[in-house]
Amino acid sequence: EPEVTQTPSHQVTQMGQEVILRCVPISNHLYFYWYRQILGQKVEFLVSFYNNEISEKSEIFDDQFSVERPDGSNFTLKIRSTKLEDSAMYFCASSGGSANYGYTFGSGTRLTVV
């Protein structure tokens, strides 16, 4: 069964450092998303991406965050200057259509900011 692949599985970074989280969505999917989940809490929407641009973003997705699809297969989330409160599990997801398809999630990257 097709999978969404995320790397790395764990990332520890110093506060103020930049991190890039990487995702390879399912190849024929058109919509891409980043979500985060702080330990013990619900899954929160960060950003959606379609046709090489951001289609929607949440309040969490401020100027410190950016997304890119640099080469037609990878989908990256960059956090420019990490804060302690950015520590969370970050999930990438993709879907074949905007509202009528189940989303396929990757296994996540656990980001720890120290």
């Binding site: 619900k42 929407f45 509202a99 009528n100 989303y103 999630f105």
Partner: protein, 108 residues
């Protein structure tokens, strides 16, 4: 996006007992999706409901969409330890908005 509220937040059952989680919205939903997240895992898509009053079954799982399309439920018959995890309803209106989830624990 439209927020969805889920209850209960936690449910502890004895293996073999039934389990139900409820999802409510203050506004009409076009459709609703359900996901399961095992402890330490990622959300996995279970099902989507679209029609008013729709009922779908997956083995021991029964999903319902209310007549007014403002609520939904997931019922598990005769729970097993493999059912452990958090069940989320989600409103897929262009971006998927998750409810808070119901964490199910099953005592063997």
């Amino acid at each position: 996006g439209q927020q969805v509220m889920q209850i209960p937040q936690y449910q502890h059952v004895q293996e073999g007992e039934d389990f139900t989680t409820y999802c409510n919205s203050s506004t009409t939903l076009s459709n609703i999706q359900w996901y399961k997240q095992r402890p330490g895992g990622h959300p996995v898509f279970l099902i989507q409901l679209v029609k008013s009053g729709e009922v779908k079954k997956q083995k021991r799982l029964t999903f319902q969409f209310g007549e007014a399309k403002k609520n939904s439920s997931l019922h598990i018959t005769a729970t097993q330890t493999t059912d452990v995890g958090t069940y989320f309803c989600a409103n897929p209106g262009g971006k998927l908005i998750f409810g808070q989830g119901t964490e199910l624990s099953v005592k063997p």
